[in-house]
Structures are given as structure tokens and as C-alpha cells.
């Protein structure tokens, strides 16, 4: 993989997050599937001219990942995916982070809702 490959994957350390939001109740149900991953794979994405680059992202099955999306357009875009259960507005010229839950194998399409004719992409979990 060449060093400038846009699909380049980096390991970054997620900050220690408060994981105790409503948990006592849920944990009491014995379904404590708390993801204890301290290292989450990060994938960089760029939006330019209302297109995602790369438009195809590969993630490993069953591992949480995160997308850092930089919007290089002047106007806002909404990263939207019902398959990934995600909607996030990314203001023009800004970056945003989208966390992906551990995914089962398959294709998970996403789009930029404000420019759905050009801004299309897919996460492939394999």
C-alpha cells in the first residue's frame, strides 16, 4: 500500500469515554456487549465537489471503526446512511467523525443527502 493511498488506515487511540450513561439497567439484563476496544481503526474520507473520496471503504468484520470526513466544499453536507444508522451534518470546510459499530459482513451504502446524485459511497465489511 503506497504511503499516499487515501484508503490508508491509521490506528489512533480513542480517548477514555464515559461508558456509564444508562448502563446499570442494561447491564443488569446481562447483555453487556460493551465494546472495550481502546484502539479504533480510523479511515480518512474527503468530500470535494460533492463526491466522496474514496467512495468505497473496506473495514474488517466485527471491529468498530471510525471515519474522519473532511468536507472541502464550501457548503454543508449531510453524511447519511440508514444501513449504518448514521446521520451527521458536516459544515463546509470542516471535519467530522462518524463512528461505525462493529459490522457484519456486507455492503453498507452511504450518501451525502444534500447532493445524493453525486455523493454516493459504500462501506464494505469483509
Amino acid at each position: 500500500m503506497p504511503p499516499n493511498d487515501p484508503t490508508r488506515v491509521t490506528l489512533i487511540r480513542t480517548p477514555l469515554r464515559m461508558r456509564l450513561f444508562l448502563p446499570a439497567l442494561l447491564l443488569a439484563l446481562g447483555q453487556s456487549a460493551v465494546a472495550m476496544a481502546d484502539e479504533v481503526m480510523n479511515i480518512d474520507l474527503t468530500i470535494k465537489d460533492h463526491r466522496f473520496s474514496p467512495a468505497e471503504i473496506h473495514v474488517p468484520v466485527g471491529k468498530p471503526t471510525q471515519l474522519t470526513i473532511k468536507n472541502e466544499d464550501a457548503t454543508a453536507e449531510e453524511f447519511d446512511s440508514t444501513a449504518l444508522k448514521t446521520e451527521k451534518v458536516i459544515a463546509g470546510g470542516r471535519s467530522a467523525t462518524v463512528r461505525l459499530r462493529p459490522l457484519g459482513p456486507g455492503r453498507y451504502p452511504f450518501m451525502g443527502e444534500y447532493h445524493a446524485d453525486t455523493a454516493q459511497g459504500v462501506v464494505i465489511s469483509e
Partner: protein, 278 residues
Amino acid sequence: MLATLLIVFREVIEAGLIIGIVLAATRGVPRRSLWVAYGVIAGVAGACLVAAFAGQLSSLFEGSGQELFNASILLLAVAMLTWHNVWMASHGRAMAQEMRQVGADVMAGKRPLGALSIVCGVAVLREGSEVVLFLYGIAASGGTSAAGMIAGGALGVLAGAGASALMYLGLLTIPTRHLFSVTSGLITVLAAGLAAQAIAFIQQAGYLEVLTSTIWNSSWLLSDESLTGRLLHTLIGYTATPNGAQLLVYLLTIAVIVALMRYVRSPHARAHKTAAAN
């Protein structure tokens, strides 16, 4: 232009359905239009603010500001809807006992109109900020297509409002004595759906990373992207791929609202109230 119309229509109808339910639930209440209008105006103003500060909002809480903001206002709406239903269960019953009928007078009490005003405001704020950002983007990019797209946006607002009005008028055809049960039911599932959405946002923010696996996938039957799917998403919180936490919170919300409504109607609660009154 058509794409613009569809996007705006979709957002407007999502807010409009909620306002339609609120209007149906407050049928016959004096000054309810004023309260709803306050909510809508505040919602539009808030939507513009949120749109203007979208970048800053997003960078709060380690990049999860937007998700936590969405979750917070959704939970606020859930609380207000619960309060309204419980209030109606309590007072509607007491008044009906004295009058031996659930008539228009029952509707005219000092209901928590502020609560419903907040619900309308939240609905408009949520969907409105997306519309504002979208239309602003079109206007800012200029070009020859901008005029057509702005026209599409305006038509989208009108079409969304029209469709919402139709639903409201449909609800009004329900006889008054059933209207209370129907609107209570609608508000209960609406609140449950909003609570489930709030949980999805909290999970998206990286908190509450439990029960995240999908329970079922009914997208072959009704996909989230279809118009029916979207309408049901707003009305009853339908999603083709609910996860465990969403389903749990959905059912829990319904259970809590139903239990509270039963409690305030129960002899125990009434005796308590009588004792307090004496």
C-alpha cells in the same frame, strides 16, 4: 428542482406530522393555535441558529456535539409528550366523571400547552436546521439552477405542509369521544419512536455501546428510504433494522407512559388527590 422539492418535502412532513398530532390532541382548547405557533416560530429561529453554528456544535464533546444535541432535544420532546399524556389521563378522567361524558369541555382545561409547544418547537428545530443548511448551500453555490432549486424548496414546504394538514383533517374525522384515546395512543408511540431515535444518536456519539447488534432486518418488507417507511419512522419510530437498545428503550417508553397513565387514573391516586384537596 425535483430533488430539492423531495428533500424539503421529506423534512417538512416529518415535522408536520408531529404538529398535526399535537393539533388533533388539543382540539377545542382555547388559544392552542397560539401555543403551537410559538413553538413553530421558536423552532424556525432555533433551526437557523443551529444551522449557523453547525460547525461549532459538531466539534463539541470530542466531535459528538451534534449527536448529543439531537439526543437531548429528542429526549426533551419525549418528556413533554409523556407529561401531556399523563396530565390528560388524570384530568380527563376526573372531569369526565363529573360530567358523565367526555365532551369538548374536557379538552378546555388548563392543559400543559407549553409542553406541546416545546414538542412542536423541537420537531421544527430538528428537521428545519437540515432544510436551512441545504437551502443555504444551494443559494450560496449560485448558478443558473439556483432559482429553480429555491422554487423547488418552496414547493417542498407547501407540499409537506399540505400533506400534514390532510393528516390532521383525517384525525379530526374521528368522533370526539374516541379522539382522546386515539391521540393518546399516537402520542405514546410517537414518544417511544423519538426515544429510540435519541438512543441511536447517543450510540452514534460513542456512549452506551451496548446492545448495538441488529435485532431484525425488515427492509425487504418496508425500507427506511421509502416514503411509507419514512412516514412510519416519524409516526411510530419504525426502522427496518432496530438494534437491541433501541427496541428496549422503545418498549420501555411505552411501558412507562402506560403505567403512569394507569397510575394517575387508579383509585389510589384519586384518593391521594382528594386527601390533598381536603
